[in-house]
Each structure stands twice: as C-alpha cells, then as structure tokens.
Subunit: 183 residues, 2 copies
C-alpha cells in the first residue's frame, strides 16, 4: 500500500512536470508566432526612385503566400493565447485526460496550419533570393534588400514555433499514455 | 463480473475497429503520397520550338520546392509502407500501447514533412498560374500548360494524404486515451 502510494506520488510529480513544460512551450511558441506575424506584417520597403510604370514598393500584401503566412501565424497566436488557461488548469488538475485529448487535436490542427504557412512563405523567400532563371523569374532581393532580409527573418519565429508545437503534442501523448483511461 | 467482461469485450471491439481504420487510412495515405511523387517526378514538357538561348523545357528539377515535394512524398511513402506491419500488429494485439505511442510520434513528424512539402509546392504552383506582376514574375503556365496542369494535379494526392495522416494520429490519440496506462 505504501509502495503504491509512493509510485502514485512520483507519477503525480512527473505529470505535473509535464504540464509545467507544456505551459512553457506554449508561451515560447506564442512568442515565435506573434513575432513572425508582426515582423512580416510591418515589412515594407519603398525604393528612392520611381517611374510612371512601376511602383518600386514592396509589401507583404503583394504575395499571397505572405498573406497566408501572416494569417496562419495570427490564427495560431490567438489559439495559443486561448489555450494557456487550459494548460494552466492541467498543472492544477494533472489527472485531467479529456481536456488534454481535445487540446491535443486542436494543437495538431494548428501545427498543420503553421507548417503550411511557414513552408509556403519559405518557398517564396527562396525564390526571391535565388530567382528561377529557367522561368525568367529574376531575384527580387537585389533591389529590395531590406524587405527580403526582414521577410526571411520572420520565418525563423514560425519554424521555432513549429518545433515547440511538436514538443507540446509529444508531451500530451506522454501524459495521455501515462494515466489510466477515463474515456 | 459478467458486466465487467461485457464492457471489456465491447472496449476490445472498439479498439479493434480503431486499429482496422488505422490500417485503411494508412493505405489510402500511401496511395496519395505515391501518386503525388510519381505524378510530379515524371512531369516534363518540351515546347515544339527552341532557340540557342533558352531550352523551352520544363522539368520538376528546375524548381527546388518541387524537388522537396517529391522527396517529402517519397520519404512519407516509404515510412507509411514500413508502418503497415505495425498497424497490422495493432489489429491483432489491440492493447499494445507503447508501439502505438512511438508510431504516433513518427506519424506526426511525417505529417509535418508532408504538409511542408505540399505547401511549398502549392505556393510555387500558385505563382506559376497567376505570376506576380509586382515583381515582374510572369505566369509560367501560359507556355507550359500541360506541365502546369500535371504539377497542380499532383498536389491533390499530397493534400489527401495530409488529411488521412491527421485522421491516423487522431485515431492513435483515441486508442491511447481509451486503454489503461502501461508506461
């Protein structure tokens, strides 16, 4: 009986540790997505010369993939913010299973959205840097250097968030597998 | 006792149903990724005229995002093929928890790779269709119509596979939450 209690207490402590890490990873992922969304959305560059044909101006709104990137990061940021109270609740009630499972499904949906947004933007950023001579698409970064630097940098936050979201889901899997079923 | 047995038997049947669905979804995802990889990798188009400057030829290897797309689909196809025996084992031994958890983590990694490949390719396909007049990138599909059609079509299999992989992970979450812990 005493041994059983000891095991249970240890298991409880591990469960609590997992929940605290879940909260920390969510906050780090939130910082990443918020940073990415702001960095990309506020990027714009105007070149110091112009003519009547072209605008020599670069904004994220010119590129649908960048719009999707900002939207995806915004949606995931809002979700992560809303999920923090649940994550905090799991620290207090570390045996909660059902809310963990529900949260895990939403986490996964958000991970897919975030990965999609980050990859689409990365594909465009790559093209902007290197261009595609076969298709007569020339590098865009030669003219718009600061726009390019900034939009490339904004990818980092998103990919960091992808890593933390993956860790959050792995933690949820561990927490679900450790406790007896309530479903 | 009799009631307990009945509940256990019913739970066992549900668990077996979940395992069978897991196998079916994996096979469908495999068909999607294999189809995508082949469709994209075998796409090429040569225009019936040429000059000494340009090759008027389109292959998936010209576009890094398409190479990544083929690689991602290939990797996920190989993984899904290797995971089929485990999925089959889960039908026979539906109480297995540890292998389910391990498989679920790999599933998630593969889902992220597949989503990244499909989104990056989709961003390029969109540009190829619409172009980006602000950046002087002109639609590539006007000349290479069949290449464009085929590479756009090959995205479908990949996105269908993303949906089935998501369902596979949700099933694993349900199966893990239903059974008593063995970790």
């Amino acid at each position: 009986m005493a041994k059983g209690n000891g095991v249970e207490r240890k298991s409880h402590a591990v469960q609590k540790g997992v929940s605290v890490m879940d909260l920390i990873f969510r906050i780090l992922a939130l910082i990443g997505t918020l940073g990415s969304a702001f960095a990309m959305a506020t990027t714009n560059q105007r070149l110091p010369f112009f003519n009547s044909f072209t605008q020599f101006k670069a904004r994220y709104r010119d590129i649908p993939a960048f719009i999707f990137f900002v939207a995806a990061n915004g949606i995931v940021s809002a979700y992560l913010l809303l999920s923090l109270p649940f994550s905090f609740f799991h620290i207090l009630r570390s045996s909660a299973q059902r809310t963990r499972l529900i949260l895990m499904f939403f986490d996964m949906a958000m991970l897919v959205i975030l990965t999609a947004g980050a990859s689409a933007a990365a594909a465009i950023v790559y093209l902007a840097h290197i261009g595609n001579p076969n298709w007569n698409w020339f590098s865009f970064c030669r003219q718009f250097h600061s726009f390019c630097e900034r939009s490339s940098g904004s990818l980092i936050g998103s990919f960091v968030a992808v890593i933390f979201m993956t860790l959050v889901i792995i933690l949820a899997g561990v927490a679900l597998a450790r406790r007896p079923s309530i479903l």
